[in-house]
């Protein structure tokens, strides 16, 4: 498998898409710092640098979907997979090496963003306001969620032989996960009561009434579980620091990794290649 890594990273270093991803991560960090610095200067906003450091995680799923589907899609369109098999590499090694390469690339992209924010952001906005241990825990959870994202996207990229279909599927999937997470997040954020204006004896009075859109306890549990299982939902909770139980998210992520990688390996081993 070392040969596959060696060749895979060599291809990565010569890949235009990888350098675009690197440039994007650095530019995104600079753009976020620039806009937040403007808000601080013009409106006196207080900017927490650690919040900026975590922000990339909400969009990394979509970035990964684009990168992974195109990078691995080439393996099929240019005949890389069939070449590797015909010269004696095991299918299981091909799948796992591709998963690891795209995961490391995605984590590298995040770390680069993080470092740029740290180097430029800390002198501008001040030091990190939360405990380092808490920040490291959040980062650890983000990295595990990135691996979960990778395992889902790699699953589709390795099982669909057509590069264009892979790219469309992965993008739709990433947007679908983000939209589902936002819907669940909004449902859970709905207030329990709302204020209602009523006319009583000629006077307008404000009364607190139950919010009809507030989900029942059972529905809340369903929305919360959907949010916890969905990598995009995990990212929203981690960025918003609204996680009720930080320990549960890595367990859900590990579940996703095991299910998607396990199923992907079985199906890829049986896949009839052309």
């Amino acid at each position: 498998m070392l040969r596959l890594f060696n060749a895979g990273f060599t291809r990565l270093c010569k890949n235009k898409l990888f350098w675009l991803l690197t440039l994007f991560s650095a530019c995104l960090a600079i753009f976020m710092i620039y806009t937040q610095y403007g808000n601080m200067k013009n409106y006196g906003d207080t900017i927490e640098v650690e919040q900026l450091m975590l922000n990339y995680s909400t969009m990394i799923g979509i970035v990964m979907a684009i990168f992974t589907s195109l990078f691995l899609g080439v393996e099929y369109s240019d005949g890389g997979v069939r070449n590797k098999i015909s010269i004696g590499h095991k299918r299981i090694h091909i799948y796992v090496s591709n998963l690891i390469i795209v995961t490391i690339t995605s984590i590298f992209s995040y770390i680069l963003f993080f470092i740029v924010v740290a180097i430029i952001g800390i002198p501008l906005f001040g030091t990190i306001t939360i405990a380092i241990s808490k920040l490291l825990m959040l980062l650890g959870c983000i990295f595990i969620t990135i691996i979960a994202y990778s395992s889902i996207i790699t699953f589709f990229a390795m099982l669909i032989s057509n590069k264009t279909i892979t790219a469309i599927c992965c993008l739709l999937l990433a947007f679908g996960m983000t939209t589902t997470a936002l819907v669940c997040f909004n449902k859970l954020e709905a207030p329990k009561t709302i204020q209602e204006a009523i006319l009583l004896e000629g006077e307008t009075k404000i009364k607190e009434v139950p919010n009809p859109k507030y989900p029942s306890e059972e529905k809340r549990k369903v929305y919360q579980t959907l949010l916890d299982v969905n990598p995009a939902g995990q990212m929203f909770q981690l960025v918003g620091k609204t996680v009720t139980n930080l320990n549960i998210l890595p367990i859900y992520s590990l579940g996703i990794i095991v299910v998607f990688t396990g199923t992907g390996l079985v199906l890829f081993k049986k896949k009839e290649l052309k």
Partner: protein, 304 residues
């Protein structure tokens, strides 16, 4: 003679369609084996199975004596190189970068030899030109260079001259002959271009409807395609002694038919035979091309 590849009643079904039907081929070391068959005969399916891209439905094959049912088959594939339909090349990379990638994939200890490979396939001057800008012939030659990166002793080329211009076809042909003669590489080459195959193959396998209907060496085939007389007689055995004594090349097809190879004056030939009390019932001349031979072999195509 060492057998490099042998298939034993190989079968491949796609739902109700049988792409391979009890296919048996035998490729000896050092040969150029031409796998001939029309489109859809099962050539690419057979190659995909040998290369591990698909599993056979039934039957088995062995590479260097290792059965496909053995776990060692993956490892033994390191001794072969292949181009299946289109060459496996990263189009955004240069020829050299593609070879570096392949060297790393096959675990070559150093990058030495890349320049030599590029020279061998005539791509030494391509510099920074990306493979996507190569002509079809250049892509095929790069594909062959990639397949040669691991110094294989068995090379599989699936339709390597498809879509090439005449110059490209000549270049690939010369390269294949060079690899076989200078590097002693055994080559399996599939094609439906009979003329081209006849210029390089040392052995042939005729594939039709998923079955090998004939395996023959080029020497035997040439003999069969020679100018010949088809002689109908009452009892073929009576003629054998005469042919042996007079050094006449012949083949007894059945008890009443003999093929006599070479050019003869028909009247003189019959006269000589009758002088020796050998009576000919019927005699006719025939000259066969590979194309005719192939057409006669597959008949009306109802071999399923």
């Amino acid at each position: 003679m060492e057998i490099i590849l042998e298939t034993n009643n190989l079968e491949k079904k796609y739902k109700d369609y049988k792409a391979l039907n009890h296919t048996n081929i035998h490729i000896e070391k050092g040969t150029i084996y031409g796998l001939i068959g029309k489109n859809g005969a099962g050539k690419t399916t057979l190659i995909r199975i040998i290369c591990g891209l698909q599993d056979p439905t039934n039957g088995e094959f062995s590479l260097y004596g290792v059965s496909n049912n053995s776990s060692a088959i993956t490892n033994i594939r390191k001794r072969m190189g292949a181009i299946i339909e289109t060459p496996s090349i990263y189009k955004e990379m240069t020829a050299r970068d593609n070879l570096i990638e392949q060297y790393k994939l096959v675990g070559m200890p150093s990058l030495e030899g890349i320049e030599e490979l590029l020279k061998l396939v005539g791509l030494e001057g391509t510099g920074k030109k990306k493979a996507k800008n190569f002509s079809l012939g250049m892509k095929q030659r790069l594909g062959i260079a990639i397949a040669l990166a691991s110094n294989p002793d068995f090379l599989i080329l699936d339709e390597p001259i498809n879509g090439l211009d005449p110059q490209g076809i000549i270049e690939i042909r010369e390269l294949i002959l060079k690899l076989n003669k200078e590097r002693r590489i055994t080559i399996l080459i599939s094609s439906h271009y009979l003329d081209e195959l006849s210029k390089i193959a040392t052995h042939y396998g005729f594939l039709d409807h998923g079955s090998i209907i004939k395996e023959i060496s080029s020497v035997e085939l040439r003999k069969k395609m020679e100018h010949k007389l088809i002689v109908k007689v009452e009892n073929a055995k009576e003629f054998v002694k005469y042919f042996e004594e007079h050094n006449i090349s012949y083949e007894v097809m059945d008890n009443t038919t003999i093929h006599v190879y070479g050019k003869y004056n028909l009247a003189k030939f019959v006269n000589e035979l009758s002088k020796n009390n050998l009576l000919v019932e019927d005699i006719k001349e025939q000259e066969e091309s590979l194309e005719n031979y192939y057409i006669n072999l597959i008949g009306d195509g109802n071999h399923a």
